[in-house]
Symmetry: C2
């Protein structure tokens, strides 16, 4: 029952008014950050357009300087913000026009995106074809979809609404609209985790280990969106991560690896747009996850991927059947895309390492690389296992030997040397992991009674670190003192929360008061998770 118009009747006569020359307004940069949405500001008494009339519609199209953008219109009654005869644009919108203050622009009702018909067919439960996905993904990448339309697409394709062929179509369409890197080598490896486990910074260890072994591993990562740190945020504590693609290519040629932010490379741009609605909804459906991850990896030029799927009571995947179903979907699409994929199912019952937050996590990573006795054992072991699996894709390595090779590289200091090379090449930052400067404000959370650490809430610990200021405040976060199965006395320190701002500290404290994220109980209450390795 969607109101998609029927075919137009083009035969009737409409008088022409000559070439249409709409009235022009003078552009003004309004210093309001409304990203990710473009907002245009028009005075209510604007004489050439009826601001009120526009407002009723969802979007306006603004043309200037040969470019056009879509924006939401806000009607203004204050000449200090925007005067009659002017059109204000929010900061990002103004930047997209590429003009100076005072340049003129025209405004019109935005046409619905071309692919809306395909979106409606999906809403009606139809199966879409590759061309449909291409049209939708192109409109999304070009910011033609409103938040409402984006959400409709995400919800209409969540759960089992996409069959596996459609997930392949979506993945393919997402690659097509972005840049695709080509490393001109037979074997380009990468490692990825589906996310959800705080502190899980194995990439920063896997990359130097496998690069030291000689494999090409150009790792591009995202920044945290709702988590307290992404690999890019943590690497940024040690080195510059915003690298132009040319520099990134040179570093990878010279050092066999990099750990950079993927944003500059414009790989799978539609994914960044989709994430802007998926994350606030906490919606991470299998089809979208597979398309998101594989499109980015393939666009980054990888042809061999080790994928980490953690299972646990508060992980993204909570049962082995769910993990196996997700694994098969990843494998199906990877095969269609000629990507060699090795899925490993790992222990996701608790955070990995001790620190949650960029500086704290960078500290843990560097301690593992330096074979420091304070290094978290779980982070070291998991990284070695993942690196080992990647190393085994080297045709000269026998199945089963990868772990030992990875361990030798780490123990010998070759991984540290490789990491230092990469840091130097990307542009190092001063960071002393022996004396990391943590957020000056802090509070401690202690055990209410003696017992065993019997459960973790990954989501709540991530939320507390986030409230404390991570990742924007690099040295904010949560520093864990005990892990699952540890015996604690009453009053024992469970973790310390660091913040840089008083308001953040209070928000984190309020979150802790609701739930600390720890359960103290008996040893037999510790959840058991079967994992592949």
């Amino acid at each position: 029952m969607n109101k998609v118009p029927t075919e137009p009747s083009a035969a009737c006569q409409v008088p022409s008014n000559g070439p249409f020359s709409p009235a022009r307004l003078s552009l003004r940069r309004v210093l309001i950050d409304t990203s990710p949405e473009n907002v245009a500001y028009m005075h209510r008494d604007c004489e050439v357009y009826r601001a009120e009339g526009f407002k009723a519609l969802s979007k306006v199209e603004i043309r200037s300087n040969g470019r056009s953008i879509l924006a939401t219109l806000n009607v203004v009654d204050d000449e200090n913000i925007v005067a009659c005869g002017e059109l204000g644009l929010s900061k990002a919108a103004f930047a997209q026009m590429g003009v100076v203050h005072g340049h003129t622009a025209t405004v019109s009702q935005a046409e619905p995106p071309e692919s809306i018909g395909a979106l409606h067919r999906k809403l009606d439960g139809e199966r879409l074809k590759l061309d449909d996905f291409r049209a939708i993904v192109r409109d999304i990448a070009e910011h033609h979809y409103s938040k409402i339309e984006l959400t409709a697409f995400v919800v209409a394709t969540c759960r089992d609404e996409l069959d596996r062929e459609e997930v392949y179509f979506l993945t393919d369409a997402m690659i097509e609209v972005g840049r695709r890197l080509d490393w001109h080598e037979h074997l380009v490896v990468d490692k990825h985790c589906i996310g959800g486990i705080p502190g899980n910074r194995t990439s920063m260890l896997v990359v130097p280990i496998v690069a030291a072994h000689g494999l090409l591993c150009p790792k591009t990562s995202s920044r945290a969106i709702t988590s307290p740190a992404g690999t890019a945020d943590t690497m940024e504590v040690l080195a510059n991560v915003e690298l132009p693609v040319e520099q990134l290519e040179e570093i990878v040629r010279n050092h066999r690896g990099c750990i950079a932010w993927g944003g500059t490379a414009n790989l799978s741009p539609s994914d960044d747009v989709l994430i802007s609605v998926e994350r606030p909804l906490s919606l991470d459906s299998p089809g979208q996850m597979v398309a998101s991850i594989l499109s980015k990896k393939i666009a980054a030029g990888s042809n061999h991927l080790v994928l980490d799927i953690p299972i646990g009571p508060t992980a993204k995947v909570r049962s082995m059947p769910d993990a196996q179903r997700l694994r098969r979907l990843f494998e199906y699409v990877a095969k269609r895309m000629s990507l060699s994929l090795d899925v490993v199912i790992t222990d996701g019952r608790q955070p990995i390492g001790f620190g949650i937050g960029p500086v704290l996590e960078a500290r843990d990573v560097m301690r593992v690389l330096e074979n420091d006795p304070r290094a978290p054992v779980d982070l070291r072991q998991k990284s070695l296992r993942l690196a080992g699996r990647l190393i085994e894709c080297d045709p000269d390595v026998r199945g089963g030997d990868g772990f030992t090779i990875a361990r030798d590289i780490l123990d010998s200091g070759r991984a540290l040397a490789k990491m230092n090379d990469i840091i130097q090449a990307q542009g190092s930052k001063s960071f002393d992991h022996n004396h990391p400067e943590l957020g000056a404000l802090n509070f401690e959370v202690r055990a209410p009674e003696a017992g065993v650490v019997a459960g973790f809430d990954n989501l709540q610990l991530a939320r507390i670190a986030r409230f404390a200021g991570a990742p924007k405040v690099k040295n904010a976060g949560v520093d864990l003192m005990c892990k699952l199965g540890d015996t604690v006395e009453a009053g024992a320190l469970l973790y310390r929360v660091h913040a840089g701002f008083a308001a953040d500290l209070e928000f984190a404290r309020q979150a802790c008061s609701k739930s600390t994220g720890y359960t103290i109980g008996r040893a037999d209450q510790v959840p058991h998770v079967f994992v592949e390795f």
Copy 2:
């Protein structure tokens, strides 16, 4: 795979900092209309809060004066808009706080709405219970849902995602959160159309006819959202429609009927919020349509409803099986709610009457009431049939006699007298339907060749009228000269478009150039639609 947190462990010790006293900012009214969304503006260099940190999250909660609202945060770099130490609020948001400029407020991260767990279960394909719908609808009515969350609910409950029991639950929940009128009479009648047909202003004829017969008919209508005129917009040409509930009740007591805007009565407030995302998506799924319409009618105190479902190639319902399925769903929910419902399936192949737009439609209505020879016959006939069906719910009227009674009331001038009473009671406006003042700017659309009017695109004609300025510009719109089956010469006038502003006229002209909404062809191409009466 939704990240809904597990039960908190409340047993751990978190040090208290005494009562939490967050820093206060001085409220400032920012003259920007961002409705329906609340927006808060904070300077980037605000010393007490990290504006950037908030921005990453979806919403903030602002407390002042014992009230709290949710808002999207925009970061500002211009002290003229908002200074450090101030918190700007968009116009509607400021009004909701009920304070004066300079009153202080605190800001915190907004907690997710309580019903988000239920929403996620629906996204996972589960069936929800009455209490789930009540929790969701309460959060929606109180504006706790973001646009993204609203869209997720609308899409997750569209098509066949709701079974008929769930549609009943949703209807019941929507009634519960609003005001419910009680007329203290045994029989309270109403008439409603599911919409989609331009010019279909039968309510303005049915109400005076049935009220003149003596039935109690308190008609509350909505304003147009994406259509070129709603009943409230059209009635507003003749009379005041924004009436306090007390006045509305008095008018109905004195005159047995009214034609008012439903907004002031706060009937089914969640529906207004849901519509804000359904309309831009053009999503009008059966379950939501049934809940929306029946909740408003029952909240308005009706216990007998005649419902008009038009069918046609560009109507909301396009086939008889779809219409019958929709009818059964309406009937099921109406029965559960003890509402007596009479569904009539009508001809939706083309607009009803000649005018599209408030003034043009008011002209048509008044001509029918005055038995003017220029009155549109289709509007008269359809209104008489609908009024006749309603009159037959009078226990003293024999089945089949309603139409004749309605016609007598109309032909005798009693309907006009009743309408004039209602107009006087609501507060009449000066309107001369014999010489309606139409938008001064206009253009004409003519037939390209001789033939028969063989097809109409209801959606395109509504769009053209909308672009021309209707309903905000009351006398803008489209005035049709020919209807389906009419024979036209080449160059014959098909319709005239009226506008009040030059830019609007141009937008309408551009829309006409793409498609006029008319198909000129052969008599045998006119679509046939079987209708019940």
